[in-house]
Subunit: 246 residues, 4 copies
């Protein structure tokens, strides 16, 4: 099965110890981890506490990862630039990168897309309707034209991203906003997917439709092969052989 | 006129002091600078010697730049990450970025596109034919279907870039390779242009067709307006007003 | 000033004679025509009644058109295939094509994009919020992050279109849907723009924001030059001269 | 196995009866048909003679086709518009369309892309090098960075197509031209692939690399599911229920 690394903040909202999250009895992070394991994936879980800098994502782990799921929100700045840099390099050689919810602001994602990832937001638990815009896309398999999440944080346009190679979902919010909430970009031999829903204090990851998206996306992001770095080869002898240039 | 900053390596090939460049009597850098001035642009020239780290590109200069031309080759690694980061931020707020020749490997360019920019290469002074692939594009104004550069360094596919938003030129090389040699990407409110020809020891920038490309590209890259950073605004009150969410 | 042709159905809703349209005292078609003239454009108005087949759009008119605005709804099928074909050819040579509202189903638009243009719809006069998704785009000049139309017909996703080259607007509807409502595609030397709002029995075209979009779009769609058809030239002598192939 | 329909002109160059084609003892069409059968596909062969109008491609055949390969050159104009129209509709519902060589000018292809497909050309049997530009793409599986065809017809830029969703190959020609020779576009639930090499009087389809491309492309174009037409559904009751609009 696909080798997954699930990097997730252990923040007060997401974590069980704090006991303040009514949505997931054992914390959001534990819930997502258990879900991924239940699907048979080979999962490595990396916890990012307030004092972590991401160095737990070692070269060895990264090398053995086919799809990296990244859920972060509050501690983005703590992550080392060097970690972001090696994630980007790894994606380029053929690793899927799944930016979950507030992952739009994590360092590797911003470096992969080249923009700020900024957006507007509001946290009042409003209704979100996620609409399929690319109805033949593998990530939408088994979904109808739309699905509902009863209560979510709002993220709204303008969303500062490059035009996605594939725009899979657009969200409608009860309060009046819209958002490109499922986007794919290709970078080197790897694919990047951003999926908006997933606020830590709301039971979003318990929705069957959301779980379908995650499974579909992991399958879509799994690279055919992991390759050696593509370098900058010097080709001293032209394919056309001994040509006369002067 | 457009406010331009021309950042250019003072490398042994490009610079006059070394006296080893037969193509430009006063160095390539001086030639390009003079050309830009002759077109009436308001030009700031930043020289990158082997001991420079790019900090000469101050916030004040960057703020007053509409289009940043970046020619680098040997000293890419000397540039501070913080400089690359602020260039990316500035592009996102509305500045044109013009990666010239080996600029495909400069730090800001790689961060803007999210890939390695790697390619194959060879330096035997072979013939290059630059073909227009997007024949209505403003950057191709005044050019025919193609133009020739008699002697150039070869850069070849695979070129590790994201699919360009606009593919303007493809090059043919005498030795047998091809290359996407004119590419546009949009990032935030700014545009990024890569233009391949421009090896420092060959008189490429003296070609009228190449000069047309530069002038057209500067016009195309000039932003309509320089804007304040787009943040991540909290919108406490929904546009739809007092909605019931629970 | 830009030479515009405004092709518009004289349908019961849009037209003044029927007297059933409370939104525009002289009909929607007259209102839009007057607005275009007030901006100084050189406007040719072609009325499509239930018995017209589009042949009033002669070769001569088409040849003298820089931007063609097409508003149709009920009589799409009456338009001759040959008319659609020559519009497509004209766009490819450098003419802007502006599909207004139900123009998503007109023959030339469907041929230009290659898909059905199908979408879901509802007509209860609900509120529409149009959000800017590409905030540096020329078509959004002078608009804020969004604007409101108090009452509109709903068009919703999935909208069967190819991924737009530029996605300018996404609409939010009171009833729960979203829609990519401002899209640009490039075809040959011409550009195609679809703009969703504009139901004939509602005063949409009286909104200042909508009028700004129309003016901005016309400027954006205006070609730099009108060119001769690009053929399929035989190049008997290779650019490389007398090469040995066998 | 994938259900394929292979539509091919029986033109003097391609066909065995004429006996003028030294490249394929039984004609090019027979060779390609045999090759497809040898790979285990369920193949329907439709021959287009000078007097055929394409009506042999019946609704029933089309309905049972997952990937349609279209090789045509001289008789494009003989094909009925209605046949082109139903092929486009079928692609949109989920059928792969493979435009082979001169298929860039066939009616369904031009309608799917919305441009003329024009290009420059020359027939002197020169060398073609096909370069991979999207090195992680499924269509490139098992190929190196490039492959050579010893003698081919030249097709060159400018090639009048919309910017491909995926640019897979670029060709280099001995005579000095380049060409985007492997391009993918998505249309509705179907994918469209154009692959340049394949001139009828040269043994291009005997090359192992070309055969790999064909097999890879068929797999890539095969739709996950064949779906009912997507209509334009009226949604009388809003997802949000009984909303107040006036």
């Amino acid at each position: 099965m696909t080798k997954i690394t699930f990097l997730c903040e252990t923040n007060p909202g997401a974590n069980r110890e704090t006991g303040i999250n009514p949505a997931y009895e054992n914390g959001m992070d534990q819930y997502v981890y258990d879900f991924l394991c239940s699907k048979g994936y080979d999962v490595t879980w990396i916890k990012i506490s307030p004092t972590d800098d991401g160095s737990a994502l070692t070269d060895e782990i990264l090398e053995n990862t086919e799809v990296l799921l990244w859920w972060g929100h509050i501690y983005h700045k703590n992550i080392l630039d060097s970690v972001a840099e090696k994630v980007v390099a790894r994606v380029n050689r053929g690793m899927g990168f799944f930016a979950m919810h507030s992952g739009h602001h994590c360092k590797p994602f911003k470096r992969l897309i080249g923009t700020t990832g900024n957006l507007s937001w509001r946290e009042i638990g409003e209704r979100e309707r996620v609409w399929v815009t690319d109805f033949g896309h593998p990530i939408t398999k088994g979904l109808g034209d739309s699905f509902v999440i009863d209560h979510e944080e709002m993220y709204g346009e303008p969303f500062d991203i490059p035009n996605p190679d594939e725009l899979v979902f657009i969200s409608w919010f009860q309060g009046g906003e819209v958002m490109r909430s499922g986007c794919v970009w290709k970078r080197g031999r790897g694919k990047v997917f951003f999926f908006r829903p997933g606020h830590e204090t709301l039971p979003t990851y318990k929705y069957e439709s959301v779980q379908k998206v995650i499974v579909n996306a992991i399958e879509y992001l799994t690279p055919d092969e992991i390759v050696a770095p593509y370098g900058a080869p010097k080709i001293p002898v032209p394919p056309e052989g001994d040509i006369k240039t002067w």
